[in-house]
């Protein structure tokens, strides 16, 4: 049996909000009995885009993370509802029954992801229904993916085994797998939101003039262990991404055969832009980083 899943590439989300708006367009003021009662005009974010800015000017990047109901296979909300006010369809979609769930404000808190919203006027808990009402009419995808500007958000209807395989092949992750809820919303490039980087700009003094130092070998070390290696670009820039936040102290070695070398240390909490690093003209005797595998 094929089931629905949502795959979101965090690196390709640009915060255009088309998914948010299409979903609001679909549900604000519209009643779909058996699926969802009308969403209030304001205040509900059945799909919500969160922002993570990393680094500082000028080496800064940003990731946008659309979050919504995960349509969990082991959904805490279904357990909390108990009486069938929330049910899971055979196609994987979780539906809060707009009649049976009336008055169940307690269900809002049952979702650890904060994806359930309270409709005060209707006294109903509500959330994104994967536009099941449209899929049942023959639509091939929900509103949010149909309106997506970059193709960062895709709905796929596959067997659980295929989905598992796809996740493994493409390195997809779910939010908080440790909660064991079995989410059906998968993320690509999640590190852009959850991990950190160390970056900097290397310069050298050439004939008394400061120049961007390109082609400089940069080695990232944790203790004596080489974590990663990079070569600076035309602007002398380098960036090590995918590091854990609060990762403690790192050392960096910079070496350019003809322009000198440098060593720096950073303590990693959040992403770090080290600013401008001037190569010393003296080249210290360190082991050649070229031998290390490039990350």
């Amino acid at each position: 049996m094929n089931k629905w899943n949502l795959i979101i590439d965090v690196a390709k989300c640009e915060n255009c909000n088309n998914c948010v708006l299409a979903t609001k367009d679909e549900h604000v003021g519209n009643d779909f009995p058996g699926y969802a009662a009308p969403q209030p005009l304001h205040g509900h974010h059945w799909i919500r885009i969160q922002r993570k800015v990393r680094g500082v000017v000028p080496m800064v990047d940003v990731a946008y993370l659309p979050t919504t109901c995960n349509h969990c296979d082991d959904a805490p909300c279904i357990k909390a509802a108990g009486d069938g006010a929330i049910h899971k369809r055979p196609d994987g979609i979780v539906i809060i029954d707009p009649v049976k769930a009336k008055g169940r404000k307690d269900l809002v808190k049952s979702c650890p992801y904060g994806a359930i919203w309270w409709n005060d006027a209707l006294q109903l808990p509500q959330k994104w229904i994967f536009d099941a009402h449209l899929l049942d009419q023959g639509w091939t995808e929900p509103r949010c993916t149909q309106a997506c500007a970059t193709g960062c958000m895709r709905a796929v209807n596959v067997s659980d085994a295929s989905m598992k395989q796809m996740a493994a092949d493409a390195g997809l992750e779910v939010l908080h797998p440790e909660w064991g809820t079995g989410p059906r919303v998968y993320y690509k490039n999640l590190h852009r939101y959850t991990k950190c980087f160390v970056a900097g700009s290397v310069v050298a003094a050439i004939d008394g003039v400061t120049e961007c130092a390109s082609g400089v070998n940069v080695t990232l070390l944790k203790g004596d262990r080489q974590v990663a290696h990079a070569v600076t670009d035309a602007f002398g820039d380098f960036k090590f991404d995918g590091l854990d936040p609060d990762g403690g102290e790192y050392r960096l070695h910079f070496l350019a055969a003809d322009r000198g070398a440098a060593t720096r240390a950073v303590v990693l909490q959040e992403s770090v832009y080290m600013g401008t690093i001037l190569l010393d003209s003296e080249i210290p005797p360190v082991r050649s980083p070229e031998e290390a595998p490039a990350r």
Binding site: D25, V53, V57, P58, A234, G236
Partner: protein, 991 residues
């Protein structure tokens, strides 16, 4: 024989009317609307028949009625048959009418009713929209952000959604680059604001009935001082229309020509019929009005600056985009985005069509660099080196890059030698030979904030790689940097840089893949800039195609008096204004000023205001308050959809409906005129029937109908409408286009859209400026410049005096040689409001930039309590109020004790605006970034006056023209200070 035919036709009219009425209830209703007698006859009365309409019934009798209400009198038999025997030939009909071979007499309202009723016989049977399984009907519409399906159930919009193309639609183009094959999605992508349409239609801010200001008495005290303060009372349409019509008459009789001015917004709703350049101009021309002349607000520096070096004034000074998508993907190695954020501005009306193409570029390894004070949405999405530059100093950076090229020999010497003039003088300036200051990267560093070594690295990389330069959102111009004090200098330098790098060679051109897709440019469909039904030849592009393709009555504004849009308040308050025209016919057209008042005309005493809100879009906009309350302005009419912005400063408010409540027709992103082939930013050219999806809300009416109703009261109804309803006009637009050869009108009406076939790969589009590089006759399909503008042979070279790119423009040397703010040699002149402005920078140390909005098209999608309000990057909800967003660097925020999402007061000597702070590293220190175009104007008490809590940042921007001798805005040269806002006494000024 022909006599018999005419008699038969006349005899059959009531039969057809009755049959149509039986079949179509709406027709029946319409026929019931008037009881009257209509006479149709030959002038010599040898043949005649009259029709008596009575309560929805119609009878007829042969002969001549003694006192008909309406008479159609044809000069002769052939003329009568021309009008009455299908198919109708509009060109012949218009011609016959112009020769007075047909004369219509009677009360306008009845004349127009009868003519429209006759047309309706044809259109009543048309089906619109596609039935859906759930019982809804799927209609189509067009917006500023792309085309949409509109699903309607029980007379109410259920949803709007992007259009997915099917196998029944034309195929997509495909192209190959560097061994890869690319084909776009089978979908018309849309901007965020398009998806807010439903919530905007049902907005609580809709004006649903005509209103009059409570203390406005047209026959007594008018109380202009209370505009924006006193409230409104509901009135009937009859009262409203009578009031407006009689005021128009009074203005003409009391003051004479010129006393009525029509201030209108630029673009609010899509469509060739209802557009301001269409129905509004037709109306304006028929009553005569003082034109509020628009400055080229998105183009500024390109028109007033760049054009002098190379021409292209027909494109308001922007380079042309042809063939650049394919050339860029095949050849280029780098794209430099400079003040370019296509992911926010989407070209213009372009949805996210080019987004996919930029991902292709990334896939091919084309590197991106972004020069902008803000790490904008485009830089955020694609990455690449962000080089923050202080607003208004971009020119110093550009000059310094050119210094590196000149001194290190990193430029195309052969191109400069053969395809340009004046380089020696420019080279001497760069090296400091002429002024003793070499323009080194170190020279620019303290001014721009860009480290010298970064400039050198960029300059060398740029010269080493085949590079596309992408200034502005469309990649061939526009951009916030062109709306600074130094906007002209910047745009000029963009041209000079490309001249040094061999503009037009493979991989070296203007663009960011936003424009120049391989679509069919030979299929004609009129763009909105062609004036639609206006009949206006001088101030639209109607003369190019539309006027001959869609024969219709010419209209002409007899009032030559104009006021520059940026100076309207001064014209009213001070009684004088001076301006410069936006006229693309030549480079020189902009040089000579015009003045208000113009000898012979009345000053302005009535404002007929039309379209979107204004406080968010015009520089130093609070000037308008005094102007609106000025005693010389005796009447202000506002024709608007929403109660917002400056609408509540009117005396009479006429409620207009939205585009989905009336008929219209248009091509997505089809502008033509100043944006010739605007659809080149799309992956699929899409012509859309803009269905009347629902009935107008409340008592609102279409703009066209409002104009027509007023015209009927002035005896102008038949001239204005030519007897046509909006749907009839849509058909005439359809017939004028190449679409009529491709699809049946009835099929198009039903399905609602048509996709034009792509250009074949076998006939690739020529690349802009390639012909120039190779010194060939121009081969891109644009009818620019005017034939007279070529200095040597038609089609060869550029429309400059030398025919080449001029480093030192002869047009400035000839026309404006002594202007220190626009010297012929484009030397760096620091901003008149920037970090070097000593008397301001102490008080107001932050530079605010306000670029085109991402989530609203100008003011059209902002406010209105729509779902756009819920986007935190647009407005932030704090304590129950949606505040406009101001982006602040953490260092600047920290210094002032401001935290993320604090409410802040942004202020300078011009006023104060209340915003929500978005504190992040995405904006450089010393700069605060927001969007222009707040639709909400909400003054609250503030020290010494008011602060706008709505977020109209243009309350703060300078009204000074960016360069003397121009009308360019310099809104992005604006110094402010910010502080936490203490909302102790939020009592509305208007309470």
């Amino acid at each position: 024989m022909k006599k018999a035919l005419l008699k038969a036709i006349l005899f059959s009219v009531p039969l057809v009317l009755r049959r149509t009425a039986r079949k179509y209830p709406a027709f029946r209703e319409e026929m019931r609307r008037h009881s009257c007698t209509v006479q149709i006859k030959l002038k010599d009365e040898s043949i005649g028949r009259f029709y008596v309409f009575n309560g929805g019934r119609v009878t007829s009798e042969s002969g001549i009625h003694p006192r008909p209400d309406v008479t159609l009198s044809f000069r002769d038999l052939p003329t009568a048959l021309l009008f009455l025997k299908p198919p109708m030939d509009r060109a012949e009909i218009v011609h016959a009418a112009k020769q007075f071979r047909v004369v219509v007499t009677g009360r306008d309202e009845l004349v127009v009713w009868f003519m429209q009723l006759m047309s309706r016989i044809e259109t009543s049977g048309l089906k619109a929209g596609t039935p859906m399984p759930d019982g809804s009907i799927r209609y189509t519409t067009n917006t500023n952000g792309g085309p949409l399906f509109v699903y309607v159930k029980d007379g109410r919009i259920l949803r709007v959604a992007p259009i997915d193309f099917t196998d029944a639609d034309a195929p997509s183009y495909s192209l190959s680059a560097r061994g890869k094959r690319f084909r776009p999605w089978r979908r018309a992508t849309v901007n965020p604001h398009a998806l807010a349409l439903k919530s905007m239609v049902y907005s609580e801010k809709r004006i649903l009935y005509p209103m009059k200001r409570v203390d406005f008495d047209p026959n007594g005290e008018r109380n202009p001082q209370n505009r924006g303060i006193s409230g409104y009372v509901r009135i009937s349409w009859d009262e409203a229309l009578d009031l407006v019509a009689s005021e128009i008459r009074r203005q003409k009789k009391v003051h004479g020509p010129g006393s009525i001015a029509i201030p209108h917004s630029s673009h609010h709703q899509w469509g060739n019929v209802g557009y301001y350049l269409s129905a509004l101009f037709r109306f304006g021309n028929l009553i005569g009005f003082t034109r509020v002349h628009h400055n080229p607000d998105s183009w500024e520096g390109w028109y007033w600056g760049a054009a002098h070096h190379f021409g292209n004034t027909m494109r308001v000074g922007l380079p042309s985009p042809y063939g650049t998508v394919e050339d860029c993907l095949k050849e280029a190695e780098m794209i430099v985005f400079w003040s370019s954020d296509p992911e926010s501005t989407n070209g213009a009306y372009g949805g996210f069509e080019a987004t996919q193409r930029r991902f292709w570029a990334q896939e091919l390894g084309i590197e991106f660099v972004h020069i902008d004070p803000h790490c904008n949405s485009t830089a955020q999405l694609y990455g690449g080196r962000w080089i923050p530059v202080r607003p208004g100093t971009d020119s110093a950076l550009a000059i310094s890059i050119m210094y590196v090229w000149a001194t290190e020999g990193l430029y195309d010497k052969e191109y400069v030698e053969t395809r340009t003039t004046g380089f020696a003088e420019w080279d001497a300036y760069l090296r400091g030979v002429s002024d003793g200051v070499p323009k080194t990267p170190e020279w620019q560093e303290p001014e721009t904030g860009v480290p010298a070594h970064v400039v050198r690295a960029l300059a060398r990389k740029w010269a080493a790689k085949k590079t596309y330069l992408a200034p502005g959102g469309v990649g061939t111009g526009l951009g916030g940097a062109c709306r600074t004090a130094t906007g002209s200098q910047w745009a000029r330098n963009m041209i000079l840089m490309m001249a040094m790098q061999g503009w037009g060679k493979p991989g070296i051109n203007f663009g960011n893949l936003q424009m120049g897709a391989p679509i069919d440019h030979f299929f004609y469909f009129p763009g909105y800039a062609e004036g639609g039904i206006s009949g206006e030849l001088a101030f639209t592009a109607a003369a190019v195609n539309n006027y001959t393709r869609m024969p219709h009555l010419l209209t002409m504004n007899p009032v030559k008096q104009m006021v520059p849009r940026q100076r309207l308040p001064d014209a009213i308050v001070n009684g004088y204004a001076k301006g410069y025209t936006w006229d693309g016919s030549s480079i020189e057209a902009q040089i000579a000023p015009y003045e208000y008042p113009m000898p012979g005309y009345s000053k302005i005493h009535m404002l007929y205001r039309y379209g979107g809100a204004l406080f968010g879009t015009v520089a130093n906009s609070s000037r308008y308050i005094e102007a609106y309350r000025h005693p010389s302005v005796e009447c202000i009419v506002s024709q608007a959809i929403y109660m917002e912005g400056d609408v509540p400063f009117a005396d009479v408010i006429l409620p207009a409906c939205t585009a989905v409540e009336r008929w219209d027709i248009g091509e997505t992103a089809g502008c033509q005129g100043y944006v010739h082939h605007g659809a080149t930013q799309l992956n699929h050219r899409t012509v859309v029937m803009q269905h009347k999806c629902i009935e107008p809300l409340g008592e609102s009416k279409s703009d066209y109908q409002i104009f027509l109703d007023i015209c009927c009261r002035l005896g102008l109804g038949a001239v204005f409408s030519e007897g046509c309803s909006e749907l009839d006009w849509c058909k005439r637009v359809f017939d004028s286009s190449d679409l009529a050869q491709k699809v049946k009108w009835s099929d198009f009406m039903k399905k609602g859209y048509y996709v034009v076939d792509p250009e074949s790969e076998k006939t690739p589009e020529p690349v802009s400026m390639r012909w120039y590089v190779e010194d060939r006759v121009k081969d891109v399909p644009e009818p620019h410049p005017l034939p007279s503008q070529y200095p040597e042979q038609f089609g060869q070279g550029l429309p400059t005096q030398s025919g080449k790119i001029e480093f030192v423009p002869s047009s400035i040397l000839r026309g404006d040689p002594d202007n220190p703010e626009r010297p012929a040699l484009n030397r760096y002149v620091p901003s008149w409001e920037g970090r070097q402005t000593a008397d301001l920078i102490g008080k107001y140390p932050l530079q605010v930039i306000s670029t085109h909005s991402r989530y609203s098209f100008h003011t059209f999608s902002d406010g209105k309590d729509s779902i756009i309000n819920d986007i935190e990057d647009h407005r932030v909800l704090i304590d129950g109020y949606y505040y406009w967003v101001m982006r602040v660097n953490p260092a600047d925020a920290r210094q002032r004790g401001i935290r993320h999402h604090d409410v802040i007061r942004v202020f300078n000597d011009r006023g104060a605006v209340i915003c929500a702070a978005d504190v992040s590293e995405l904006v450089m220190p010393g700069v605060v970034k927001t969007f222009e175009s707040s639709a909400v104007f909400d003054p609250v008490p503030d020290r010494g006056g008011f602060a706008d809590r709505g977020g109209c940042i243009n309350v703060l921007t300078p009204q000074r023209p960016q360069v003397k001798g121009t009308d360019g805005m310099g809104s992005n040269s604006c110094l402010v200070e910010i502080e936490q806002w203490n909302p102790e006494h939020i009592e509305r000024m208007r309470a």
